[in-house]
Protein backbone atom coordinates (compact mmCIF):
# COMPACT_ATOMS: atom_id res chain seq x y z
CA UNK A 1 0.00 0.00 0.00
CA UNK A 2 2.69 2.45 0.99
CA UNK A 3 4.86 1.35 -1.93
CA UNK A 4 2.00 1.76 -4.39
CA UNK A 5 1.23 5.16 -3.02
CA UNK A 6 4.87 6.21 -3.17
CA UNK A 7 5.25 5.17 -6.79
CA UNK A 8 2.10 6.92 -7.89
CA UNK A 9 3.02 10.03 -5.85
CA UNK A 10 6.54 10.17 -7.25
CA UNK A 11 5.21 9.52 -10.74
CA UNK A 12 2.65 12.31 -10.59
CA UNK A 13 5.21 14.57 -8.91
CA UNK A 14 7.76 13.94 -11.64
CA UNK A 15 5.16 14.51 -14.36
CA UNK A 16 4.06 17.79 -12.80
CA UNK A 17 7.68 18.85 -12.31
CA UNK A 18 8.21 18.26 -16.02
CA UNK A 19 5.21 20.39 -16.95
CA UNK A 20 6.25 23.12 -14.55
CA UNK A 21 9.82 23.26 -15.78
CA UNK A 22 8.62 24.00 -19.30
CA UNK A 23 6.55 26.95 -18.11
CA UNK A 24 9.34 28.33 -15.93
CA UNK A 25 11.94 28.02 -18.67
CA UNK A 26 9.82 30.01 -21.12
CA UNK A 27 9.15 32.59 -18.47
CA UNK A 28 12.79 32.85 -17.49
CA UNK A 29 14.43 33.05 -20.89
CA UNK A 30 11.82 35.06 -22.73
CA UNK A 31 9.84 36.70 -19.97
CA UNK A 32 7.07 34.89 -21.78
CA UNK A 33 4.06 33.46 -20.03
CA UNK A 34 3.45 30.97 -22.81
CA UNK A 35 -0.17 29.87 -22.96
CA UNK A 36 0.59 27.86 -26.06
CA UNK A 37 2.55 25.43 -23.91
CA UNK A 38 -0.53 23.23 -23.61
CA UNK A 39 -0.84 23.08 -27.39
CA UNK A 40 2.81 22.08 -27.77
CA UNK A 41 1.81 19.19 -25.57
CA UNK A 42 -1.29 18.68 -27.68
CA UNK A 43 0.94 18.34 -30.74
CA UNK A 44 2.67 15.42 -29.04
CA UNK A 45 -0.61 13.79 -28.12
CA UNK A 46 -1.84 14.38 -31.66
CA UNK A 47 1.13 12.37 -32.93
CA UNK A 48 0.34 9.63 -30.44
CA UNK A 49 -3.13 9.47 -31.99
CA UNK A 50 -1.91 9.55 -35.61
CA UNK A 51 0.54 6.74 -34.97
CA UNK A 52 -1.79 4.78 -32.69
CA UNK A 53 -1.54 1.69 -34.89
CA UNK A 54 2.25 1.66 -34.85
CA UNK A 55 4.25 0.24 -31.96
CA UNK A 56 3.99 2.37 -28.85
CA UNK A 57 7.56 3.64 -28.93
CA UNK A 58 7.14 4.86 -32.52
CA UNK A 59 4.19 6.96 -31.42
CA UNK A 60 6.17 8.20 -28.44
CA UNK A 61 9.11 9.13 -30.66
CA UNK A 62 6.83 10.94 -33.10
CA UNK A 63 5.21 12.76 -30.17
CA UNK A 64 8.62 14.20 -29.31
CA UNK A 65 9.27 15.16 -32.92
CA UNK A 66 5.86 16.83 -33.28
CA UNK A 67 6.13 18.72 -30.00
CA UNK A 68 9.63 20.02 -30.75
CA UNK A 69 8.62 20.96 -34.29
CA UNK A 70 5.55 22.89 -33.12
CA UNK A 71 7.59 24.58 -30.38
CA UNK A 72 10.21 25.72 -32.88
CA UNK A 73 7.61 26.77 -35.45
CA UNK A 74 5.71 28.85 -32.92
CA UNK A 75 8.98 30.54 -31.96
CA UNK A 76 9.86 31.25 -35.56
CA UNK A 77 6.45 32.41 -36.74
CA UNK A 78 4.96 34.09 -33.69
CA UNK A 79 7.52 34.93 -31.02
CA UNK A 80 10.60 35.72 -33.07
CA UNK A 81 8.99 38.72 -34.82
CA UNK A 82 7.88 40.00 -31.40
CA UNK A 83 11.19 39.49 -29.65
CA UNK A 84 11.54 43.06 -28.44
CA UNK A 85 7.87 43.48 -27.67
CA UNK A 86 6.33 44.05 -24.29
CA UNK A 87 5.75 40.87 -22.21
CA UNK A 88 2.02 41.52 -22.25
CA UNK A 89 2.00 41.52 -26.04
CA UNK A 90 3.98 38.28 -26.02
CA UNK A 91 1.46 36.77 -23.65
CA UNK A 92 -1.44 37.77 -25.89
CA UNK A 93 0.43 36.38 -28.87
CA UNK A 94 0.79 33.12 -27.00
CA UNK A 95 -2.99 33.04 -26.53
CA UNK A 96 -3.35 33.46 -30.26
CA UNK A 97 -0.90 30.65 -30.95
CA UNK A 98 -2.72 28.50 -28.43
CA UNK A 99 -6.12 29.08 -30.03
CA UNK A 100 -4.79 28.67 -33.56
CA UNK A 101 -3.18 25.33 -32.76
CA UNK A 102 -6.28 24.11 -30.93
CA UNK A 103 -8.43 25.07 -33.90
CA UNK A 104 -6.13 23.27 -36.30
CA UNK A 105 -6.43 20.14 -34.18
CA UNK A 106 -10.25 20.50 -34.05
CA UNK A 107 -10.58 21.07 -37.79
CA UNK A 108 -8.45 18.09 -38.74
CA UNK A 109 -8.87 14.97 -36.66
CA UNK A 110 -9.94 15.96 -33.17
CA UNK A 111 -13.38 17.62 -33.31
CA UNK A 112 -14.08 15.57 -30.19
CA UNK A 113 -12.02 13.41 -27.91
CA UNK A 114 -10.61 10.26 -29.47
CA UNK A 115 -9.64 7.16 -27.59
CA UNK A 116 -6.23 5.62 -27.92
CA UNK A 117 -6.33 1.90 -27.31
CA UNK A 118 -4.31 1.27 -24.18
CA UNK A 119 -0.95 -0.30 -24.87
CA UNK A 120 -1.26 -3.81 -23.39
CA UNK A 121 2.22 -3.73 -21.97
CA UNK A 122 1.49 -0.48 -20.10
CA UNK A 123 -1.69 -1.71 -18.46
CA UNK A 124 -0.03 -4.78 -17.06
CA UNK A 125 0.63 -4.88 -13.35
CA UNK A 126 3.76 -6.28 -11.82
CA UNK A 127 5.03 -6.89 -8.35
CA UNK A 128 7.70 -4.58 -7.01
CA UNK A 129 8.98 -5.18 -3.48
CA UNK A 130 5.77 -6.94 -2.58
CA UNK A 131 3.53 -4.21 -3.98
CA UNK A 132 1.25 -4.53 -6.95
CA UNK A 133 2.21 -1.70 -9.31
CA UNK A 134 1.05 -0.82 -12.80
CA UNK A 135 3.72 -0.67 -15.48
CA UNK A 136 2.30 2.69 -16.51
CA UNK A 137 3.21 4.16 -13.13
CA UNK A 138 6.72 2.79 -13.43
CA UNK A 139 7.07 4.13 -16.96
CA UNK A 140 5.83 7.53 -15.76
CA UNK A 141 8.44 7.62 -13.02
CA UNK A 142 11.14 6.40 -15.37
CA UNK A 143 10.42 8.69 -18.33
CA UNK A 144 9.83 11.82 -16.28
CA UNK A 145 12.73 11.05 -13.95
CA UNK A 146 15.20 10.50 -16.79
CA UNK A 147 14.00 13.66 -18.55
CA UNK A 148 14.36 15.75 -15.40
CA UNK A 149 17.86 14.41 -14.76
CA UNK A 150 18.80 15.07 -18.37
CA UNK A 151 17.51 18.64 -18.21
CA UNK A 152 19.26 19.20 -14.88
CA UNK A 153 22.50 17.96 -16.41
CA UNK A 154 22.02 20.11 -19.49
CA UNK A 155 21.31 23.23 -17.47
CA UNK A 156 23.96 22.63 -14.84
CA UNK A 157 26.89 21.13 -16.65
CA UNK A 158 26.94 22.22 -20.26
CA UNK A 159 27.99 25.46 -21.88
CA UNK A 160 24.52 25.85 -23.35
CA UNK A 161 23.05 25.44 -19.87
CA UNK A 162 25.22 28.15 -18.35
CA UNK A 163 24.25 30.54 -21.11
CA UNK A 164 20.58 29.60 -20.79
CA UNK A 165 20.57 30.23 -17.07
CA UNK A 166 22.40 33.52 -17.52
CA UNK A 167 19.85 34.56 -20.13
CA UNK A 168 16.99 33.41 -17.94
CA UNK A 169 18.17 35.75 -15.22
CA UNK A 170 19.15 38.91 -17.10
CA UNK A 171 18.56 38.55 -20.80
CA UNK A 172 19.95 41.95 -21.78
CA UNK A 173 23.10 41.55 -19.75
CA UNK A 174 23.66 38.09 -21.20
CA UNK A 175 23.20 39.45 -24.71
CA UNK A 176 25.66 42.22 -23.92
CA UNK A 177 28.20 39.58 -22.92
CA UNK A 178 27.79 37.95 -26.30
CA UNK A 179 25.33 35.20 -25.40
CA UNK A 180 23.43 34.89 -28.68
CA UNK A 181 19.65 35.25 -28.52
CA UNK A 182 19.46 33.15 -31.69
CA UNK A 183 21.11 30.32 -29.80
CA UNK A 184 19.43 30.43 -26.41
CA UNK A 185 15.85 31.21 -27.47
CA UNK A 186 15.44 28.36 -29.96
CA UNK A 187 17.32 26.09 -27.54
CA UNK A 188 14.82 26.97 -24.83
CA UNK A 189 11.96 26.17 -27.20
CA UNK A 190 13.52 22.82 -28.10
CA UNK A 191 13.85 21.90 -24.43
CA UNK A 192 10.27 22.98 -23.84
CA UNK A 193 9.23 20.88 -26.82
CA UNK A 194 10.96 17.83 -25.37
CA UNK A 195 9.41 18.39 -21.94
CA UNK A 196 5.94 18.81 -23.43
CA UNK A 197 6.47 15.84 -25.74
CA UNK A 198 7.38 13.52 -22.88
CA UNK A 199 4.48 14.97 -20.90
CA UNK A 200 2.10 14.22 -23.78
CA UNK A 201 3.26 10.61 -24.05
CA UNK A 202 2.63 10.05 -20.36
CA UNK A 203 -0.67 11.95 -20.32
CA UNK A 204 -2.05 10.21 -23.40
CA UNK A 205 -1.26 6.85 -21.85
CA UNK A 206 -2.78 7.77 -18.50
CA UNK A 207 -5.95 9.29 -19.94
CA UNK A 208 -6.36 6.77 -22.74
CA UNK A 209 -7.62 9.51 -25.02
CA UNK A 210 -6.61 12.72 -26.72
CA UNK A 211 -8.68 15.84 -27.37
CA UNK A 212 -8.12 19.33 -28.70
CA UNK A 213 -8.44 20.91 -25.28
CA UNK A 214 -6.27 18.43 -23.42
CA UNK A 215 -3.44 20.95 -23.16
CA UNK A 216 -5.29 23.31 -20.88
CA UNK A 217 -5.01 21.36 -17.65
CA UNK A 218 -1.29 20.53 -17.92
CA UNK A 219 -0.59 24.16 -18.80
CA UNK A 220 -2.45 25.32 -15.68
CA UNK A 221 -0.62 22.74 -13.60
CA UNK A 222 2.64 24.07 -14.99
CA UNK A 223 1.74 27.67 -14.16
CA UNK A 224 0.54 26.81 -10.65
CA UNK A 225 3.60 24.68 -9.95
CA UNK A 226 5.90 27.41 -11.23
CA UNK A 227 4.20 30.07 -9.12
CA UNK A 228 4.39 27.77 -6.11
CA UNK A 229 8.09 27.10 -6.54
CA UNK A 230 9.08 30.58 -7.63
CA UNK A 231 8.81 31.73 -11.21
CA UNK A 232 12.36 32.94 -11.55
CA UNK A 233 14.09 29.80 -10.30
CA UNK A 234 14.14 26.66 -12.41
CA UNK A 235 15.01 24.47 -9.45
CA UNK A 236 12.22 26.04 -7.44
CA UNK A 237 9.76 25.54 -10.27
CA UNK A 238 10.62 21.85 -10.59
CA UNK A 239 10.26 21.47 -6.84
CA UNK A 240 6.92 23.30 -6.89
CA UNK A 241 5.65 21.03 -9.63
CA UNK A 242 6.83 17.94 -7.81
CA UNK A 243 5.13 18.98 -4.57
CA UNK A 244 1.94 19.79 -6.40
CA UNK A 245 1.88 16.34 -7.98
CA UNK A 246 2.83 14.51 -4.82
CA UNK A 247 0.19 16.32 -2.77
CA UNK A 248 -2.43 15.61 -5.44
CA UNK A 249 -1.59 11.90 -5.23
CA UNK A 250 -1.65 12.09 -1.45
CA UNK A 251 -5.12 13.64 -1.45
CA UNK A 252 -6.38 11.08 -3.96
CA UNK A 253 -5.20 8.25 -1.76
CA UNK A 254 -6.09 9.45 1.69
CA UNK A 255 -9.15 11.67 1.30
CA UNK A 256 -12.38 9.95 2.32
CA UNK A 257 -14.31 8.85 -0.79
CA UNK A 258 -17.03 11.50 -0.27
CA UNK A 259 -14.44 14.25 -0.36
CA UNK A 260 -12.38 13.14 -3.36
CA UNK A 261 -14.57 15.21 -5.63
CA UNK A 262 -13.29 18.27 -3.77
CA UNK A 263 -9.63 17.30 -4.17
CA UNK A 264 -8.76 20.45 -6.10
CA UNK A 265 -10.44 22.62 -3.50
CA UNK A 266 -8.14 21.18 -0.83
CA UNK A 267 -5.15 21.46 -3.14
CA UNK A 268 -5.68 25.09 -4.04
CA UNK A 269 -6.52 26.07 -0.49
CA UNK A 270 -3.12 24.69 0.48
CA UNK A 271 -1.58 26.61 -2.40
CA UNK A 272 -3.18 29.86 -1.26
CA UNK A 273 -1.83 29.31 2.24
CA UNK A 274 1.69 28.73 0.90
CA UNK A 275 1.52 31.85 -1.25
CA UNK A 276 0.25 33.98 1.62
CA UNK A 277 3.28 32.91 3.65
CA UNK A 278 5.77 33.05 0.79
CA UNK A 279 4.37 35.19 -2.01
CA UNK A 280 7.62 34.97 -3.98
CA UNK A 281 7.37 31.18 -4.15
CA UNK A 282 9.31 28.52 -2.30
CA UNK A 283 12.78 28.97 -3.76
CA UNK A 284 12.59 32.29 -5.56
CA UNK A 285 14.76 35.27 -4.88
CA UNK A 286 13.17 38.61 -4.11
CA UNK A 287 12.51 39.87 -7.60
CA UNK A 288 10.03 38.32 -9.94
CA UNK A 289 9.51 40.02 -13.25
CA UNK A 290 5.81 40.12 -13.82
CA UNK A 291 4.64 43.06 -15.80
Amino acid sequence: MIMEFLISAVGLGALYALLTLGVALMFGVLGLMNFAYGEILLAGAFAMYLFRNEPWFVGAGMALVFAVAVALLSERLAFHPLRDADPVILMIASFAVSLALQSIARMTVLPRARGIAPEPFLSRRIEVLGADVSVLDLVTVGLCGVTLVAVAWLMGRTSLGIQLRAAAEDFRMAALLGVRPNLVIPAAFVIVGVLAGIGSVVLAARQGSVSADMGLQPMLIGVVGAVLGGMSSLKGAALGGFLLGAVTALLETFLPTDLIAFRDAFLFTALIVVLVVRPQGLLSGAKVRVS
Binding site: T158, S159, I162, Q163, R165, A166, E169, D170, M173, A174, A175, L176, L177, G178, V179, R180, S232, S233, G285
Partner: protein, 255 residues
Protein backbone atom coordinates in the same frame (compact mmCIF):
# COMPACT_ATOMS: atom_id res chain seq x y z
CA UNK B 1 38.28 38.85 -34.97
CA UNK B 2 38.79 35.13 -34.78
CA UNK B 3 36.60 33.46 -32.23
CA UNK B 4 39.27 31.49 -30.44
CA UNK B 5 41.96 34.12 -30.47
CA UNK B 6 43.64 34.40 -27.10
CA UNK B 7 46.88 36.00 -28.24
CA UNK B 8 47.60 39.70 -27.97
CA UNK B 9 45.65 41.63 -30.59
CA UNK B 10 47.43 44.32 -32.62
CA UNK B 11 47.68 47.63 -30.77
CA UNK B 12 44.76 49.95 -31.25
CA UNK B 13 43.30 53.19 -29.99
CA UNK B 14 39.88 54.08 -28.65
CA UNK B 15 39.43 57.77 -29.25
CA UNK B 16 36.78 60.31 -28.45
CA UNK B 17 37.16 63.55 -30.38
CA UNK B 18 35.43 66.68 -29.12
CA UNK B 19 32.76 64.45 -27.61
CA UNK B 20 29.85 66.15 -25.93
CA UNK B 21 26.39 65.59 -24.54
CA UNK B 22 23.89 67.88 -22.93
CA UNK B 23 20.90 67.12 -20.77
CA UNK B 24 18.19 69.80 -20.76
CA UNK B 25 20.68 72.43 -21.78
CA UNK B 26 23.31 71.43 -19.23
CA UNK B 27 26.50 70.38 -20.92
CA UNK B 28 27.51 67.30 -18.95
CA UNK B 29 30.41 66.64 -21.28
CA UNK B 30 31.63 69.55 -23.35
CA UNK B 31 34.09 68.86 -26.12
CA UNK B 32 36.32 66.30 -24.46
CA UNK B 33 39.05 64.66 -26.49
CA UNK B 34 40.73 61.60 -25.07
CA UNK B 35 42.45 58.43 -26.15
CA UNK B 36 42.94 55.05 -24.57
CA UNK B 37 45.64 52.87 -26.11
CA UNK B 38 45.82 49.12 -25.85
CA UNK B 39 47.85 47.94 -22.89
CA UNK B 40 47.58 51.13 -20.86
CA UNK B 41 45.40 52.19 -17.96
CA UNK B 42 43.96 55.68 -18.30
CA UNK B 43 42.52 57.13 -15.12
CA UNK B 44 39.59 59.47 -15.66
CA UNK B 45 39.34 61.63 -12.59
CA UNK B 46 37.62 64.75 -11.41
CA UNK B 47 35.31 66.00 -8.69
CA UNK B 48 31.69 64.89 -8.40
CA UNK B 49 29.61 66.07 -11.33
CA UNK B 50 32.64 66.69 -13.53
CA UNK B 51 31.33 64.39 -16.27
CA UNK B 52 33.44 61.28 -15.65
CA UNK B 53 30.62 58.77 -15.73
CA UNK B 54 28.91 60.56 -18.62
CA UNK B 55 32.16 60.32 -20.58
CA UNK B 56 32.31 56.61 -19.85
CA UNK B 57 28.68 56.30 -20.93
CA UNK B 58 29.47 58.07 -24.20
CA UNK B 59 32.38 55.72 -24.89
CA UNK B 60 30.40 52.59 -24.03
CA UNK B 61 27.34 53.58 -26.02
CA UNK B 62 25.04 53.85 -23.04
CA UNK B 63 24.58 57.48 -24.10
CA UNK B 64 24.83 58.82 -27.65
CA UNK B 65 27.08 61.81 -28.14
CA UNK B 66 25.28 64.96 -29.25
CA UNK B 67 28.54 66.27 -30.68
CA UNK B 68 31.93 64.90 -31.60
CA UNK B 69 32.86 61.38 -32.58
CA UNK B 70 34.12 58.11 -31.14
CA UNK B 71 36.44 55.85 -33.09
CA UNK B 72 38.08 52.52 -32.49
CA UNK B 73 41.03 52.76 -34.86
CA UNK B 74 39.28 53.35 -38.20
CA UNK B 75 35.85 52.20 -37.11
CA UNK B 76 33.34 54.91 -36.36
CA UNK B 77 31.45 53.85 -33.23
CA UNK B 78 29.66 57.15 -32.67
CA UNK B 79 26.20 55.92 -33.69
CA UNK B 80 26.54 52.29 -32.62
CA UNK B 81 24.56 50.74 -29.77
CA UNK B 82 26.23 49.45 -26.65
CA UNK B 83 25.79 45.90 -27.87
CA UNK B 84 27.42 46.59 -31.22
CA UNK B 85 30.32 48.33 -29.49
CA UNK B 86 30.71 45.32 -27.22
CA UNK B 87 31.20 43.25 -30.35
CA UNK B 88 34.03 45.57 -31.32
CA UNK B 89 35.59 44.72 -27.97
CA UNK B 90 34.59 47.86 -26.06
CA UNK B 91 33.22 46.42 -22.81
CA UNK B 92 32.03 48.20 -19.71
CA UNK B 93 31.05 47.29 -16.20
CA UNK B 94 28.11 48.69 -14.31
CA UNK B 95 28.30 50.21 -10.86
CA UNK B 96 25.61 47.84 -9.60
CA UNK B 97 27.51 44.89 -11.07
CA UNK B 98 24.51 43.20 -12.70
CA UNK B 99 25.96 39.77 -12.02
CA UNK B 100 23.78 36.69 -12.50
CA UNK B 101 22.80 36.09 -8.89
CA UNK B 102 21.70 32.52 -9.28
CA UNK B 103 24.88 31.43 -11.04
CA UNK B 104 28.11 30.75 -9.21
CA UNK B 105 30.99 33.18 -9.54
CA UNK B 106 32.80 30.78 -11.85
CA UNK B 107 29.68 30.37 -13.99
CA UNK B 108 29.24 34.13 -14.22
CA UNK B 109 32.74 34.45 -15.62
CA UNK B 110 32.40 31.39 -17.81
CA UNK B 111 29.14 32.65 -19.31
CA UNK B 112 31.00 35.70 -20.60
CA UNK B 113 33.87 33.61 -21.91
CA UNK B 114 31.40 31.37 -23.75
CA UNK B 115 29.47 34.38 -24.98
CA UNK B 116 32.74 35.69 -26.39
CA UNK B 117 32.95 32.58 -28.54
CA UNK B 118 35.37 30.39 -26.61
CA UNK B 119 34.94 26.64 -26.48
CA UNK B 120 34.12 25.03 -23.19
CA UNK B 121 37.65 23.98 -22.30
CA UNK B 122 39.20 27.33 -23.23
CA UNK B 123 36.45 29.12 -21.38
CA UNK B 124 37.14 27.10 -18.23
CA UNK B 125 40.85 27.79 -18.46
CA UNK B 126 40.34 31.51 -18.92
CA UNK B 127 37.85 31.53 -16.05
CA UNK B 128 40.32 29.79 -13.75
CA UNK B 129 43.06 32.27 -14.71
CA UNK B 130 40.89 35.32 -14.11
CA UNK B 131 39.51 34.06 -10.81
CA UNK B 132 43.04 33.37 -9.60
CA UNK B 133 44.32 36.78 -10.63
CA UNK B 134 41.46 38.65 -9.01
CA UNK B 135 41.57 36.55 -5.85
CA UNK B 136 38.14 34.99 -6.30
CA UNK B 137 39.18 31.33 -6.22
CA UNK B 138 37.93 30.68 -2.71
CA UNK B 139 34.40 31.80 -3.65
CA UNK B 140 34.40 30.41 -7.19
CA UNK B 141 31.62 27.94 -6.51
CA UNK B 142 29.44 30.14 -4.36
CA UNK B 143 26.25 31.57 -5.72
CA UNK B 144 26.74 35.23 -6.59
CA UNK B 145 23.64 36.25 -4.60
CA UNK B 146 25.38 35.21 -1.41
CA UNK B 147 28.36 37.56 -1.75
CA UNK B 148 29.17 41.00 -0.41
CA UNK B 149 28.76 44.06 -2.60
CA UNK B 150 32.53 44.36 -3.01
CA UNK B 151 32.90 40.80 -4.20
CA UNK B 152 29.98 41.23 -6.57
CA UNK B 153 31.70 44.22 -8.12
CA UNK B 154 34.92 42.25 -8.57
CA UNK B 155 32.91 39.43 -10.11
CA UNK B 156 31.48 41.91 -12.60
CA UNK B 157 35.02 42.95 -13.52
CA UNK B 158 36.12 39.33 -13.81
CA UNK B 159 33.17 38.71 -16.08
CA UNK B 160 34.04 41.72 -18.23
CA UNK B 161 37.64 40.49 -18.52
CA UNK B 162 36.37 37.06 -19.59
CA UNK B 163 34.76 38.55 -22.67
CA UNK B 164 38.34 39.39 -23.70
CA UNK B 165 37.78 43.09 -24.30
CA UNK B 166 40.11 45.22 -26.38
CA UNK B 167 39.03 48.14 -24.25
CA UNK B 168 37.61 47.86 -20.80
CA UNK B 169 35.66 50.74 -19.28
CA UNK B 170 35.37 50.55 -15.51
CA UNK B 171 33.08 52.78 -13.50
CA UNK B 172 34.62 53.15 -10.04
CA UNK B 173 35.59 49.48 -9.80
CA UNK B 174 37.00 49.88 -6.32
CA UNK B 175 34.11 51.79 -4.79
CA UNK B 176 33.34 50.63 -1.29
CA UNK B 177 36.77 49.13 -0.73
CA UNK B 178 39.55 50.53 1.38
CA UNK B 179 42.58 52.10 -0.26
CA UNK B 180 44.90 49.08 -0.16
CA UNK B 181 42.18 46.73 -1.46
CA UNK B 182 41.41 49.21 -4.20
CA UNK B 183 45.05 49.47 -5.23
CA UNK B 184 45.44 45.69 -5.20
CA UNK B 185 42.35 45.26 -7.37
CA UNK B 186 43.34 47.88 -9.90
CA UNK B 187 46.88 46.51 -10.03
CA UNK B 188 45.49 43.07 -10.81
CA UNK B 189 43.28 44.51 -13.54
CA UNK B 190 46.24 46.40 -14.92
CA UNK B 191 48.47 43.33 -15.05
CA UNK B 192 45.75 41.32 -16.69
CA UNK B 193 45.13 44.06 -19.24
CA UNK B 194 48.81 44.55 -20.03
CA UNK B 195 49.36 40.88 -20.61
CA UNK B 196 46.49 40.76 -23.05
CA UNK B 197 47.08 44.12 -24.65
CA UNK B 198 43.77 45.48 -23.46
CA UNK B 199 43.28 49.19 -22.84
CA UNK B 200 41.55 50.25 -19.65
CA UNK B 201 39.65 53.43 -18.87
CA UNK B 202 39.11 53.79 -15.18
CA UNK B 203 36.70 56.25 -13.63
CA UNK B 204 37.77 56.99 -10.09
CA UNK B 205 37.33 59.84 -7.70
CA UNK B 206 40.05 58.90 -5.24
CA UNK B 207 43.31 60.51 -6.35
CA UNK B 208 45.48 58.31 -4.12
CA UNK B 209 44.14 55.14 -5.76
CA UNK B 210 44.91 56.22 -9.32
CA UNK B 211 48.37 57.69 -8.63
CA UNK B 212 50.30 54.43 -8.51
CA UNK B 213 48.09 52.34 -10.74
CA UNK B 214 47.38 54.39 -13.86
CA UNK B 215 49.76 55.07 -16.74
CA UNK B 216 48.11 58.36 -17.54
CA UNK B 217 45.47 60.55 -16.00
CA UNK B 218 42.81 62.63 -17.67
CA UNK B 219 41.29 65.27 -15.42
CA UNK B 220 37.78 66.62 -15.97
CA UNK B 221 35.98 69.51 -14.37
CA UNK B 222 32.51 70.75 -15.32
CA UNK B 223 32.53 68.51 -18.37
CA UNK B 224 35.77 69.90 -19.78
CA UNK B 225 39.31 68.61 -19.91
CA UNK B 226 41.56 70.29 -17.36
CA UNK B 227 44.75 68.48 -18.17
CA UNK B 228 46.14 65.13 -19.14
CA UNK B 229 49.42 63.30 -18.70
CA UNK B 230 51.54 61.23 -16.40
CA UNK B 231 50.19 60.98 -12.87
CA UNK B 232 53.19 62.66 -11.26
CA UNK B 233 52.94 65.65 -13.59
CA UNK B 234 49.19 65.90 -13.35
CA UNK B 235 49.30 65.96 -9.60
CA UNK B 236 51.63 68.96 -9.64
CA UNK B 237 49.50 70.88 -12.11
CA UNK B 238 48.22 73.99 -10.31
CA UNK B 239 44.84 73.79 -12.05
CA UNK B 240 44.40 70.24 -10.83
CA UNK B 241 45.42 71.15 -7.33
CA UNK B 242 42.94 73.96 -7.36
CA UNK B 243 39.92 71.99 -8.56
CA UNK B 244 40.79 68.72 -6.96
CA UNK B 245 42.15 69.64 -3.59
CA UNK B 246 40.31 72.88 -3.21
CA UNK B 247 41.66 76.39 -3.38
CA UNK B 248 43.56 76.09 -0.14
CA UNK B 249 46.13 73.58 -1.24
CA UNK B 250 46.94 71.34 1.67
CA UNK B 251 50.44 69.92 1.41
CA UNK B 252 49.44 66.85 3.37
CA UNK B 253 47.30 65.72 0.50
CA UNK B 254 50.35 65.48 -1.66
CA UNK B 255 52.25 63.21 0.64
Amino acid sequence: MSATQLATPPPSVLRMAEGGIHFDGVRAVDGVTLEVRSGEVLGLIGPNGSGKTSTLNLLSGMLRATSGSIHLDDHDLTRLSMRRRTRFGVVRTFQSGRVFGRLTIAENVEAAALGGGLRRREARQLTADILAELGLEDVAHQQADALTAGRIRITAIARALASRPRFLLLDEPAAGQNESEAIALITAIREFAQRRGCGVLLVEHDMSVVMGTCDRLHVLDSGRTVTEGEPALVRRDPKVIEIYFGKRHDHDAER
